[in-house]
Structure formats: C-alpha cells, structure tokens
C-alpha cells in the first residue's frame, strides 16, 4: 500500500513537471543559457571577424574598468535613469491626484491620457526627433514665438543637451502610465482617514503628505523599482534619436553593449559590458523580488 502510494506520488510529480516543462525549457534556453554564455564570452577576446578567440580571463574586465569611457557611460546611465524616474514620479503623482477627483468629462480625459502608453515607442521616438529638428521643428519654432530664440540649440546635436533631450519622450510616455497605477493605489486608501483629517481641519497638502503618500507607498516603491529597471535597460529611444552620439554623450551602459556588439562586432568586450549591466540590475531585481514575494506570502 505504502509502496503504491509512493509510486503514485512519483507519477504525479512527473506529470506536474510535464505541465510546466514548456516554460521551464523556454526559460532555460532563452534566458538562463544566454546569461551563462555572456559570462563565458566575457573571458575571451572574441572578435566576430577573427577565427581564433583567445582566452584572456579578467583582462577584458580590467580594460573596461580603466577605460575613462566606462565612467562616462555609467554617468550617462545614472543621469538618464534617475532623471526620468524623478520627473515621471512628480508628474505621475500630480496627474493621479487630479484624476482622483470627480469631474465632468473624466472618462474622456482618462482615455486621452492613456494614449501615449498605447502608442508604439518607435513612433514616439520619431515624433520627438522631428519636433527637435532645427528651424523647421516644432520646438525651435515655439521658442521663436515666445521670443526665446537664445535658447534655440541643436537639441540632439549638442553633447551637453542631447542626453536630456532624449529623456523627454521617455518621461512623456512613462508618467501617464505611472499615474494610473498610483490612482489605483489611491482608491485603496481608506476614506475614513480623510474624513477624520477633515474634521481636524488638515490642509490638502498635509492630507497628501500624511495620508495619501504613506497609503500608496508600497505601490510607489514597486512601480519605481520596475521603472528603474525598464528605463535603465531601454536602448530603443536613444538608438533611434542619436545612436548614442554626439561623441558618446547619450551612450548609456546598454547602448554601449549594443554598439560594441553590433557595430564593432566585438562580442567578448560587449559581453563584459553586458555583465556589468546585469550586475547593476541584480540589486534592483533582488529588492523587487523581496518586496513582491513578501506581499504574496503576507
């Protein structure tokens, strides 16, 4: 009897794994193996054009670390990601607060404000590129209308400006999306808290600071962790607008990986950069896992 039960369990166990095998195999083949392979490649001098790929150990890492370009790339990544995150956060919160009020025509406003999220990123990138175009682009013209010609510049061509210019469309797309998540969280804050505060005569600002903000904090943290990873990883916007130029001024870490891999075809060096990208993100991934999984258990 006991033996039979055991056999039955084993059969059930195998059947369970058969059910999830399509995903296990996909994840192993499409994600685990490539990560392993990236690690492996990073220890070789692997130029796609060469026939021999000598093992160089950590030399590749050393070369990258002492390269001043590496610091520049890290700096760009940092500015780009934090800039997008912070500005989207402020705009997103403001919009969520607005949509949390009831007013006529709100449904229409909601649909309009979700449009950027449903617009292909490629179209967003191209539209902004065209707005940034000098003289005939919209931005230069607007500045001219408001007699601010002195601010006219080559938005995507000036190394001091380009990084910020590429951030704008990312923010434009992100904050509306964030706002809807914050809005959902705000709906979950108990109404009684506000009523009690009203009785005490609290100002709107104090209500926001002491009731709304703490109430949506868990959501806010999760969303911003995700946004950090998504924005850090994004190469499409930069690639379409500037391809990392002028003179590396918009080359973030992932853009660098892509450039080294598919413009110079130095797969070994690209893998070193890829591993650095991966290592930076692991911190955020662990934080994200800890928070989400705790929520799940609790």
């Amino acid at each position: 009897m006991n033996k039979l039960r055991c056999l039955y369990d084993i059969r059930k166990e195998i059947s369970n794994y058969l059910w999830i095998s399509p995903v296990l195999i996909s994840v192993l083949g499409l994600i685990a193996y490539p990560i392993f392979r990236s690690f492996q490649l990073s220890f070789y001098h692997w130029d796609l054009a060469d026939r021999i790929h000598p093992f160089i150990g950590f030399q590749g890492y050393l070369q990258v670390i002492i390269d001043p370009e590496f610091r520049e790339v890290l700096y760009n990544s940092f500015v780009w990601t934090t800039g997008i995150i912070l500005i989207s956060l402020v705009f997103g919160l403001a919009m969520a607060l607005l949509l949390n009020e009831e007013f006529k025509g709100k449904t229409l406003v909601v649909i309009l404000l979700l449009l950027p999220w449903a617009t292909p990123r490629i179209v967003i990138a191209l539209a902004w590129k065209w707005m940034y175009t000098s003289t005939f682009g919209m931005l230069d013209y607007l500045l001219q209308i408001f007699s601010l010609e002195s601010f006219r510049t080559l938005w995507l061509g000036d190394p001091n400006i380009a990084l910020y210019a590429t951030m704008a469309p990312m923010i434009w797309r992100d904050y509306t999306f964030e706002a809807f998540i914050y809005l959902a969280a705000m709906k979950g804050v108990p109404k009684e808290l506000y009523e009690a505060a009203e009785v005490d005569g609290a100002s709107p600002w104090r209500k926001f600071l002491h009731i709304t903000l703490p109430g949506i904090m868990p959501t806010l943290i999760v969303v911003n962790l995700l946004e950090t990873m998504w924005n850090f990883n994004d190469i499409q916007m930069i690639w379409i607008m500037t391809e990392g130029g002028p003179v590396n001024s918009t080359t973030t870490l992932p853009v660098k990986v892509y450039k080294v891999a598919f413009q110079y075809f130095l797969f070994g060096k690209a893998s070193v950069y890829a591993i650095f990208t991966f290592l930076f993100l692991i911190i955020f991934m662990i934080a994200y896992l800890k928070i989400t999984m705790k929520e799940r258990e609790g």
């Binding site: 994840v27 065209w130 999760v222 690639w239 892509y258």
Partner: protein, 276 residues
C-alpha cells in the same frame, strides 16, 4: 460633502496634461497631411493650409512596399501571441493550482526573467540563431520576443487562474475529468478576459518591437514596420511627411486594439500586470 471650490484648478490641471499629451500627436498628424514644401516653410502652419493625402498614398502604394512590411509585422505578432499563449497556458495553470516541489523558486525565476536586460541576451541569441540558421527570418524575431513574452504571459495568466473559484474545478474532478480536461473544458472557457488581456499585452509588445528586428534582419523584404519606419531617415534629408504618415499607419492598429479592449487593458495595467 465635497466642496466645489477647486474645480477651476481641476480643469486647468486636466487641460495642462491633455495639451502636454496631445501636442506630439497633433504635430505628427499635421505634418503627415502637409505637402512637402509646406513642411519646410516658416512660419509653421499648425493646421495644414492645403491638406493632401500624398504621403499616405505614397506609403500605402509607393515603392517602399509598405503592405509587405505590414504583413511581416502581422505574421510576427500573431505568431508571437499564439505561441506564447500555447506555451504558457498549461504552466500558468499548474503553477496556480498544483502542489509542485520548488514552485516558489520557479515563480521567482519567472518573475526575474522579465527583468533581465535584453542587451545581455542579444549576443548569445545571435550565436544561437546563426547556428540554427534562422538569422534574417521571422523565427529570430518570434523566438527573441519569447524571452519577454513567455515569463510575462505565465505570470499574468496565473494571476487570472488564481482568481477563478476552485470549487468550479473540483466539481469537474469529482465527475472524473482528468486535470487536462478540467483545464480545457472548464477553466479555459471562462478565462476569456484573462486570455484576451494577455494576448493584447503581447500584441502591443510585439507590434512595436524594434531592436530585435534591427539586429537580426538583413533583407528589406522581411522588415517589420518599426524597422521600415527608420528607413525613411536618410543620410542627408529625411522624408518627414512620409515618415509621419507611416507613423500614423503603424499606430492605428494599436489604438484600435486599445480602444476595443480598454476595459481589460486598464484593469490589467492597474492590477494584474504590475502586482501579479
């Protein structure tokens, strides 16, 4: 209860956000309807003086063979949606209902896989695709899309299956159905919204995928729409009129999908897709 004091502030705020959101759309539409000379003429006319459809006709029936690109995008996107769903459904159900050893670890792995920087995968996948001789085919894009779509679909579908009351399935099991029959005959027929939402998200993801197509495709005849769009950016001059008209055409299917499935997508964005 509520004081009507701040409605002006609300409408001013709403107007501000709407203008901020709509300006690029307006600019794109306006450009796409202007004759070439008017695009490069100052002062800028916001409303085209002489609206023309030349750019649209040029795109749809011109030498760029946009219809082919549209078809390529449709093939890749539909294949991605179908394959991702088929691969994910059984696993999502098993991870929602069965007691599996190491389930928690598997769930964690799936969650993390969505966050892996895609650039880390590009070089190894290039090698694999070269080895399989599928570079420059739709398969490279479809398989490449799977790196994101499968973990995403499993996660989203699982949360939908979790929300179905278990008693419905238990009735089936008592009647002697196998687990597969329960899934196919009882669970899937009532999971319409979950499947539609998941499919919509994958569709939107795949429709606008650009970097994979840029990296793994060589022949222009296989280009998907996003790559085809960038081919309008010339070395010296860019055909902004045609480019913007093409942008409108690429956007329309997604906007239609979005408006049709608004209810599902908004709830997905607000709940399932983010918090799992």
């Amino acid at each position: 209860m509520k004081k009507p004091r701040n409605w002006i502030l609300i409408y001013v705020g709403a107007l501000f956000f709407i203008v901020l959101v709509l300006i690029p759309y307006f600019w794109v539409l306006s450009t796409s309807l202007k004759p070439h000379e008017d695009i490069f003429r100052l002062p800028i006319r916001w409303i085209p003086e002489r609206p023309v459809l030349t750019h649209y006709l040029n795109i749809l029936f011109g030498p760029e063979n946009f219809q082919q690109k549209f078809l390529n995008s449709l093939i890749v996107t539909f294949s991605t949606v179908m394959i991702a769903l088929v691969i994910s459904i059984t696993s999502a159900f098993a991870l929602a209902r069965f007691r599996i050893r190491g389930k928690f670890t598997i769930l964690k792995t799936i969650l993390v896989s969505q966050m892996i920087p895609t650039v880390v995968l590009f070089v190894p996948l290039y090698e694999v695709f070269a080895f399989l001789r599928i570079l420059d085919t739709y398969w490279a894009l479809i398989i490449g899309n799977m790196t994101f779509c499968i973990p995403f679909a499993v996660w989203l579908l699982r949360s939908f299956f979790l929300s179905i009351p278990k008693s419905i399935e238990d009735a089936g099991l008592v009647d002697g159905c196998s687990r597969m029959q329960v899934l196919l005959k009882i669970v899937l027929p009532i999971s319409g919204p979950g499947l539609v939402t998941t499919a919509a998200f994958i569709f939107i993801y795949s429709w606008q995928e650009y970097i994979l197509a840029l990296t793994y495709l060589n022949s222009a005849s296989k280009y998907t729409l996003p790559v085809a769009l960038t081919s309008f950016i010339g070395q010296y001059s860019t055909q902004w009129g045609s480019l913007m008209a093409a942008s409108v055409i690429v956007t329309i299917p997604i906007i239609i999908l979005f408006l049709l499935l608004k209810r599902f997508i908004v709830s997905g964005v607000m709940g399932g897709a983010i918090k799992g």
